[in-house]
Symmetry: C2
Subunit: 271 residues, 2 copies
């Protein structure tokens, strides 16, 4: 049995996420919501379909974890097993040929049989991208969140420091997931301003803010809830110090709103 | 009568262009093509519709010129006349509120009654954006052309110099437009490599090439036909010197293919 590891980038705009969420499959309300949405596709199913076409057998692909509807990936990791020995360059080419324009297999490697995309993962890095400009986003409107209100990046950075370390992040967990354990750790958060290059015409003039969060386990919607709260701080609605009391409350209602999926990218999974 | 000038940016992906082309309206073949396309909308009509909603009267908007289906603008200029005196900030806000996410009114100014967006225009600047990477474009797939073959930028630059000046550009004119006069001038062409900033996750690793063309009058598809020919040079299919003989031929069949609309931006109109 061969074990293959894929490094996958995708524009999540047209997808229900990496994999259908269990709640969406079972709860009638979410099911209705899905039926109204124009897209029921998941990235995992698209790649499984491509693998079936290319390899001529039904393949079960296991990702490092789910990403929500509309969330992107620069390097999502997945693995699959097959008896076939496959030339890796050909596999990549064939898959990219079959897949749509919004999914790209960036790398294919053969790995040891005990490698598991989810269970072997040690850390993940997410990046959140904010366009902080007067003009509304035009060319990157599905690839960044837009905030018109000028943001205080230094205050956001101060606020972010309260989150580093091992904490109960219940206040930042999706409110429909209260049954799950919510203690986890964030190893690093950075908040920085980036000036886009002037020459690329699809990058509008103005400030871009990039927030990186590295952690060993992320709760559902955790990064977006953290970013939504940091945006409240950046707008002056909250002080940086409030971050500490929000954490202590262990109650989702005390944190800020969930930031848009469009700004979120899974950047790397570390093994 | 007041005369208002608008500076407009748009993502042309979902549009038939700035304005419906006359040939598309009349020729049956093009008409069929339009009927099959998912989008018949033009940017001009969208803004006229928004103006009507905001001002409560039918407005005729005149642009500096047409842009083809799928071509973008960072600064298209248009004017319209009305008896109403309009507070400019309110006008911009109201229009941007009514317009979809892919059109943005960047500026509104009152101008003298003899200003005409098309007839007063002296020069235009177009930018063509090429993603020269191994990986296929993912996040910017409608905002740049993709060329996988490594391009020789220096050769493209040498080739471009043969085009500067006043010439008969018939070889670079859309072949269905042979009846028109084709002598015009290019004041400047620059070809440069740009390295995208690493922090913005939607910019993939690799080389970007940006071609600027400034001229006093552009023939239909001229910039895209020039870029298609420069790409042939960049790939080593033609020598830079061939540019001169292609010009002399005055025959579209001797130039390279028309480059994709996705990479083209109207950057500025100078008055």
């Amino acid at each position: 049995m061969h074990n293959y590891k894929l490094t996958i980038a995708y524009d999540g705009t047209g997808y229900c996420g990496w994999q259908t969420q269990t709640s969406a499959q079972t709860s009638p309300a979410s099911f209705e919501k899905r039926a109204q949405a124009p897209q029921f596709r998941t990235v995992q199913e698209e790649i499984e379909r491509a693998l079936r076409k290319v390899l001529g057998e039904k393949i079960r692909l296991t990702g490092s974890g789910r990403t929500d509807s509309g969330v992107h990936a620069v390097a999502q990791i997945a693995h699959f097993k097959t008896k076939k020995s496959i030339p890796l360059q050909n596999l990549m080419k064939a898959l990219n040929g079959v897949l749509g324009r919004d999914i790209c297999i960036r790398e294919a490697q053969e790995v040891s049989s005990d490698f598991h995309a989810r269970f072997s993962a040690r850390r993940k890095i997410y990046r959140y991208c904010i366009m902080n400009t007067q003009d509304k986003p035009l060319f990157i409107r599905h690839g960044a969140a837009w905030v018109r209100h000028p943001l205080d990046v230094a205050a956001m950075r101060r606020a972010s420091r309260f989150l580093v370390g091992r904490h109960d992040f219940k206040s930042f967990q999706a409110s429909d997931r209260t049954e799950r354990k919510s203690v986890t750790s964030i190893g690093r958060i950075t908040v920085k301003s980036v000036t886009g290059p002037k020459d690329l015409p699809f990058i509008q003039e103005g400030k871009w803010i990039v927030i990186d969060v590295e952690g060993s386990g992320f709760l559902r919607s955790m990064v977006r809830n953290i970013v939504g709260t940091l945006l409240d701080v950046g707008k002056g609605k909250r002080t940086p110090q409030e971050m500490r009391s929000i954490l202590k409350k262990k109650d989702r209602r005390f944190a800020g709103p969930c930031a848009s999926a469009a700004g979120l990218y899974l950047m790397d999974v570390l093994y």
